[in-house]
């Protein structure tokens, strides 16, 4: 079995106390739901705890020592994120509440500024998470623009056959996921971005599943906006990130109005601060930014190349083992090539809900349902699937436990 040089998964697991838990029935927890949310290492939780108990204050506007400490923790989180994703400037990093808000922010302000109107087109894909579908549907509805989308091939890849007709001179915005949370597919963003920019469209990338798993450099990616979320990258809930090109951000109006995002306010009118603050109304997620900074430190110490290699190795093992099971059909690419660590599957004769319940009774935590990707499910003629997803702490033994629990499920429901 492939092992990344010097990557010690057993040592890593010690940082995640929950992984040593046992669940109902006394089974050790086998957590295979990391595409849904990742577990948090002690280092991240302690950073949050320390922040609250020792340095808590509001930021920017407080000029006492505690305020300076809290501001350093918060803005330090921004610095760390900027460096982690290769942002040319820290001022391009906007903190939101999650990836969904980041994507909605883009859709709302582009709508407010008149980027799209009747006759204009917005292009997404059939494999998007609902958070990268609904904001664009709502924008199209508000503005009269038309929503179009890339299809998905039988293998679960982005169908680029009609790239040049789909993305055309009417296209104003293209918004695409980097890694599919359902199919696991890693999309070839470069060709889409190149085509979109050729026709003058803006490109937003949903990197919610990418930033946790693979080394990301937004400068070389070349997109205009990149959205992701803290809780999937060993960070806290309650914080997401929107990265945007500075000149573009500087040309856009605010999304939410309130404290921190203004330059000056009179009853008649207000002027607004420069990015990123223009887009951060109200008290920001201060402790969460401190926690996310610790998450970035944690990932950086492991090395994102190593995290990606581990994910790759575990996914290869899982693809191989799962395909040994009769009656199990993987929905999405079956080869560990351009593929992230989420595997959705159907099991003949047992509904995904029931699969998940039986696995849970063996301590194996997976997700069942549409994984916020109903159109992708419909594309494959299934209403729901069971999904196992892996992360930097997942072991081959856990994959083997998954396989054993699936076989148990088949026996329980008498389908094998």
């Amino acid at each position: 079995m492939t092992r990344t040089q010097g990557y010690d998964v057993e040592a890593i697991r010690k940082d995640f106390p929950v992984l040593a838990r046992s669940v109902a029935g006394g089974h050790p927890l086998v957590y295979l739901d990391s595409a849904n949310t990742s577990q948090k290492p002690r280092q991240v939780v302690e950073a949050i705890e320390r922040h609250y108990l020792e340095h808590n204050a509001n930021v920017a506007r407080a000029m006492h020592q505690l305020g300076a400490e809290a501001t350093a923790a918060f803005e330090g989180g921004r610095d760390k994120i900027a460096q982690f994703i290769g942002a040319p400037s820290r001022d391009e990093v906007i903190f939101t509440k999650n990836a969904s808000e980041a994507l909605n922010l883009v859709a709302r302000v582009l709508g407010d500024v008149g980027t799209v109107g009747p006759g204009d087109e917005i292009v997404i894909s059939q494999m998007e998470h609902h958070s990268n579908i609904v904001p664009w549907q709502l924008l199209a509805e508000r503005t009269g623009a038309t929503l179009r989308w890339f299809g998905v091939t039988d293998e679960g890849r982005l169908d680029l056959d009609d790239l040049d007709t789909l993305v055309n001179e009417r296209t104003k915005i293209v918004s695409l996921t980097w890694v599919s949370n359902m199919l696991g597919t890693i999309n070839p963003l470069d060709v889409v971005i190149a085509r979109a920019h050729q026709v003058g469209a803006l490109v937003a990338v949903d990197a919610s599943q990418a930033v946790p798993q693979i080394p990301v450099d937004v400068a070389s990616l070349g997109a205009d906006f990149v959205a992701f979320t803290g809780h999937k990258m060993v960070g806290p809930t309650g914080i997401g990130v929107l990265w945007g090109r500075y000149d573009l951000l500087a040309s856009l109006p605010p999304f939410l109005g309130g404290g921190e995002m203004i330059e000056t306010v009179t009853m008649e009118r207000s002027t607004f601060a420069a990015p990123p603050h223009r887009f951060e109304a109200g008290t920001p997620p201060i402790a969460q930014a401190a926690g996310l900074g610790a998450a970035v430190d944690y990932l950086t110490a492991l090395g994102m190349e190593n995290v990606a290699a581990h994910e790759q190795a575990i996914t290869a093992h899982a693809l191989e083992r799962l395909q040994e099971i009769d009656g199990l059909t993987i929905v999405g690419p079956r080869e560990p090539v351009d593929r992230g660590g989420a595997i959705s599957f159907a099991l003949d004769g047992v509904h995904p809900h029931d699969v998940a319940q039986l696995l849970d009774s063996r301590g194996v935590a997976v997700r069942a349902g549409h994984h916020c990707a109903k159109p992708a499910h419909r594309r494959f003629g299934v209403q729901s699937t069971t999904r196992a997803s892996f992360y930097l702490y997942t072991t081959e033994a856990e994959i083997d436990a998954l396989v054993e629990a699936i076989r148990h499920t088949q026996r329980y429901f008498k389908v094998s």
């Binding site: 029935g25 995904p352 029931d354 319940q357 009774s361 209403q383 329980y412």
Partner: protein, 149 residues
């Protein structure tokens, strides 16, 4: 929580051989309900003959619990009067929301007592109630607008 409490033999039987499945004519109301969390869906029709539930027909896609529950609903409600049916629904809901503390009445719920175990699995209560909520909705539509359709 023991998974055997959830997957009672009765439930698995109804799941494999659902009673009353399929959409039939005539009907006075048709509704479509979805469990947004997992995507389970049901299209359900109600046919009333005066005050009597003459037929309940449905097309459901979902897990064993939601499918079996629709099958049991069919057995329990067809032939009853609307008020009787609503009383059964109340009894069923009460058990479902009872977190395993409410003793089901076999006189009233018949095979439905097998769902007592579901009440211990909060995430599955919505599965068991999907068809019942759809029925309630459909009946109220049929009663309020009996000529329609």
């Amino acid at each position: 929580m023991d998974v055997d409490a959830l997957y009672q033999e009765i439930i698995l039987d109804h799941y494999k051989n659902p009673h009353g499945a399929g959409l039939r004519e005539p009907h006075e109301a048709e509704v479509h309900h979805v469990n947004p969390t997992c995507g389970d869906e049901i299209t359900l029709r109600v046919h009333l003959d005066g005050d009597t539930v003459a037929d309940v027909s449905y097309d459901a896609e979902g897990c064993s619990i939601s499918q079996a529950s629709a099958s049991v609903l069919y057995d329990l409600l067809v032939g009853k009067s609307v008020p009787q049916g609503l009383a059964v629904l109340d009894a069923f809901s009460e058990v479902m929301h009872g977190r395993g503390q409410v003793e089901p009445d076999e006189e009233v719920l018949e095979d439905g007592i097998a769902f007592a175990g579901v009440a211990q699995f909060p995430a599955r209560v919505k599965c068991a109630l999907l068809s019942w909520m759809a029925w309630k909705d459909a009946v109220s539509q049929a009663v309020s607008d009996p000529k329609e359709q």
